[in-house]
Symmetry: D2
Subunit: 392 residues, 4 copies
């Protein structure tokens, strides 16, 4: 087990930790520690909300969550000798839970506070608690299913350069300003409220809090990709934008369905992650890995081989309007079709929705050129149910 | 081997066949034959262009393809006793090639004639021929790769009711009219040119040709879903809209990557398919399978376990503009990232593009709620290459 | 589809075919045809008994089978330029059935005529007929199961040199002579009865018939290995003992469980196989592939991921006698344990036995050093049953 | 994480622990603790030798190991309400290593002290140390390979009844006495030397030490089965022979090849295991699970899909003698063939041998009826090597 380089006290908020962590992206957030290439180390992580959600049956904490607080990240890690233009190679050696924290949560955010992929259909907040038992999880709120975790960091990324940060802020602000009164806004631009910025203090804190990009979207630096297959044993190649790369990680998921459609999210948990870092000098140009990270999944994903698959096309389900090759609408329809089917098995719509966001369901773009309909599918592993779910 | 109920002479165009087939969707296209539930049967299929593309190195046939001709389908099959409201259960028992036709084609359509997913980057027509050798395929136009086929019908579906057909025509016409001068149009509405409509003749032919929906998009009836995992051994549950269901099939692919991104398409081929049909009476309401088919993939998909995965986000690669959770752009970026990487291995952009459209690559919607960036990935099986493709 | 180089008329016995085939191993059996390295070709094969077993419910043909007749093989194929010391590389491109012959058989041989792995428990002849429907098979004699074929040649091998043949005959005769009165004999030494030897005639026929090794055991040349994973897409590396290698093939199985425990055997069928041959000059010494073939399985084996596994140890089930690390007894116990369990599901012992010999069950040597008990297991895929078979 | 019910101090021998554990099977060894059905709990385990093997490059500790000491087990656990005739259902929830003990060992035992499967070929002691890095392991003594652990208990079992124990002792003694002077003996009968028997003391200790069966062989109670697929997420059904079942566990392996052919063994380690117990009342008769446990493997085994497979037949490699359907010899030949091949890649014979015993290689009984040769195979995953190992 590698040395724990980043230790947390889960009873305290992120800014009161020995290593305070951060919840914004900015090149000037000080590194929490540094390591040499070739080093393995352990980092502990809070859940992405910094402990706002409790293990009970009341969804009000989901409804009232302070989203200015997310995602509390562990890091940054400064990797010695790594420079812009290099590739930072990160091995996810292992991930686990804490003895005192053997559960996670999933929630549907309320339309007024966060929303979700199907927020027009499911505008109210809901919550499900998932208990872990070794490699498996079950939920008292979604009975009749049990599955092996596909444990992964929802968020892992390197720091942007100042130039890249400015590009982000500009393009996202332009999007937001294209519909400035929208609730929720089209993008979350920098917001000093509830910012945590490592050991920064005073004027430097204020500057960085005002400039720092929110952690919600995935971007060129990786970040909140929410890729369920980035699990144990994966190897990631990150483009490097600042000296030392400044790697951060958080938002651990015990499991997640493709799309993370309830937004909150997968099975969210606190836990630890063992990483190993290395470098490919000059790799960004050599391999043209410049716009986004590239990765190789690990070999221990749960092996489910039997799926029931739901299709969707890019016709709006509410008004029947035809959209042009729109994969979002097609995936939405596939998910809605799956939910309607799961309801015939006795689930509520909310239960089915949370199941799609937590179980290892596969979300695919199948056809994206057959004008005017995209075809997307969501594939549910049948072996996670305690009964036969096939049509008869 | 079940009885061949639908036999073709590949040297003749579809309207000159004993069973002429069809290339439009309409409830009044006469059934080619009828079977009882529980019956297995073989149908032969032309390639989707009705033989327009030749096994040579000249892409002009791709460039000049007559798209009014596609997709030539085999059928419809009338299933006795099946009625609207039922589910038609279709087993894909097996699929194969003809001894005289052991090759397939992939092409990038020209921007002026069909276009493709990355048409702004690759506007010129290109073609690759793929030779089959048992379960494997290789291409003289894309050297260094060999993979097992994931053979499937790109298109399988049932006839729409007249009401459903009218709904399709209306919604697609509205989309088309929202930008009436666009080239290519946003949707392909009914077009009598080059229509093939089974044994219909005279005024009835003219009426149906004028009303019949094009086969390009997938819709509520299934149709051109281009789902690579709908391969041998799959079982599909179709909602039924007309008496006898009227099942048709075509557009066989020896293999395809998720998205079928070059539009032409997978590895397109002529061949045969063995189907078995059955019925679940009243199943549409009972299982709420009403909007789209549902299916269970077969157990013999090629087993690749080692992937290199490319991520993309919903920022336009040309102008850097931020889009709102747009999975299409995210998948486009993932594909472009993959192509840039493959170019460092020595492939041309066109070769890499055709590889992504033919090899069993996985296209995923990973995160679809992390405002404002969707995250999509394309995963390439490393075992199909004859050398190590990992970064070093 | 490669050219059919070896065509059969299934209504005729092997010696009356245009290419008569053979059922003994001998270097002097003339090649049926020759090919260059790099060539793909199709060969047709009789079932291993030369058509003795019929598609009916009467097991008397199993009971009375003439085992002097087995295995009728297609070939030999002379590969130009291949010499002793080389490796013959054989790709199994594809395997299939004939339209007129869409079924196979499994049987338990009677103790007096062939016997089987559990012959002391199941001494009577039994038969099950398996119908093929595309990639799947079912049996009216073993209800409640359906599985995808793992189609493979039970027997594929190259000709021995005269020296190697003499070594075989000597060592097998010594074994047989160690208990000369045993019924059945410990080994089947050369026997001219019912020999088929290609185009040989007269004195040469008589000589070769007297010397030729029986095809039953696997040996240095490959031969009757009955390896279920040697299926479509596999690549085999054979040591070469004679000029031209002289490759022969037969005993096609639609499916088989590890061990082929009923002896007759897997799901035995007639069919065709597409092969491609190549050579690694001097490969026997370079890779030390001298004693037995080496192979790489294909990527399209049916994907079953859920198994129920039965253990066995090397204690005789009849008298409770302890044997020393005996994997045969351990596997026997594992199989008997599985059969007893399957009987609680309603199967007869014979049905369960034939199921283990036909379905893709995995037979493993788990522990072979824990004095004095070996541990072997047999793993049954649960997804092949139409009901839940787990203990409750 | 379940409560740790069995805690060890790895610096102390087993008899000095708070819960002393045991290294013999006997119904009268007192339970270390009791739990109700439905309970999950953690147990810590010493490595099987009780810490005799050290993390260094000197194999003398392997050569001189005191085998009277093995296997030190944690337990027994008394499960309340469980009685003879029931099935004890054990879920292996999770398994892991200790922070201070992130390595394991493999060894070839010397012929004079333990021996191994290929002891005639490799009579000298050898040792390899394997370092763990998250899910992966590598060895400075076997370079060029890296693989994911298939972590499992080599030994898990329930207590025998007194009658069953007597049956074991009798049958094993009879075997031993059939060749009383053999070195090593054919079986290890009860031996009071180095016995550890939980909290037993005085005359009771002496009696049980004299009667208790050695833990080396697997038997009706499970025990030392060394089944590599009994890994995380597995569910085992044990027949119950005594009140409370008295479950014990130990001999944890980070990984193992089928057969555990070097005898010492897999990658041997200390660690912890999380178990959950339940009961099926009267299940032994209902499901006829009476002779050996039955299990369902977990879904997170490492997914390797590309193998190179070596065959072996039952002809002795030393004297060329033909044996009758002997799976042991066939597997031995398969392993020897694999080792000869691996030597052409630059490994020593000892390295190759230890690789086969540690990596997740598959050992199969392929054909067990083809008189007189059994065919066994050993399949090596090619993806564990850092270079291409295929013949060229």
């Amino acid at each position: 087990m590698p040395k724990t380089m980043y230790k947390l006290d889960l009873s305290k908020p992120m800014e009161e930790q020995i290593h305070p962590g951060h919840n914004r992206w900015h090149p000037d957030i000080p590194a929490a520690f540094s390591v040499d290439p070739g080093t393995a180390f352990r980092m502990e992580c809070q859940d992405w909300t910094d402990g706002q959600i409790k293990n009970n049956d009341n969804p009000n904490d989901i409804r009232d969550v302070n989203l200015a607080r997310v995602h509390v990240l562990s890091g940054p890690v400064y990797v010695n000798g790594v420079e812009p233009g290099d590739l930072l190679v990160v091995d996810i050696l292992d991930i686990g839970t804490f003895q005192e924290y053997e559960w996670g949560f999933n929630g549907i955010f309320a339309k007024e506070n966060g929303g979700s992929f199907l927020t027009d259909h499911y505008p109210e907040a809901a919550k499900s608690i998932w208990d872990f038992e070794g490699i498996y999880t079950t939920s008292r709120h979604v009975p009749g299913v049990k599955f092996a975790g596909l444990i992964h960091p929802g968020l892992i990324g390197v720091a942007p350069s100042l130039e890249l940060l400015q590009k982000w802020n500009q393009r996202e602000n332009e999007l937001k300003m294209s519909d400035p009164d929208r609730v929720p806004p089209l993008a979350n631009t920098p917001n000093p409220e509830a910012a945590v910025l490592g050991t920064l203090k005073g004027a430097e804190f204020d500057r960085v809090a005002k400039e720092g990009a929110r952690t919600v979207p995935p971007r060129e630096n990786g970040g909140n990709c929410d890729i369920k297959n980035l699990s144990k044993g994966s190897k990631i190649y990150f483009p490097v934008f600042v000296k030392g790369a400044k790697l951060s990680v958080g938002d651990l998921h015990f499991s997640q369905g493709d799309g993370e459609i309830t937004f909150c999210g997968g099975i969210e948990m606190a836990g630890w992650i063992d990483l190993k870092v290395d470098v490919i000098k000059g790799g960004m140009e050599k391999y043209k890995i410049q716009e986004n990270p590239v990765f190789k999944p690990g070999p221990v994903d749960p092996l489910y081989s039997d799926f029931l698959v739901f299709e969707g096309i890019s016709v709006d389900d509410k008004d029947g309007k035809q959209h042009y090759l729109d994969a979002n609408i097609a995936y939405k329809r596939a998910c809605l079709n799956a939910i309607e089917y799961l309801k015939t098995l006795g689930y509520t719509g909310e239960q089915a929705y949370m199941l799609l966001s937590t179980a290892p369901v596969e979300g695919r773009i199948n056809g994206i050129v057959d004008i005017p309909n995209a075809c997307c599918t969501v594939a549910i592993p049948t072996q996670i149910f305690d009964k036969d779910i096939m049509p008869k």
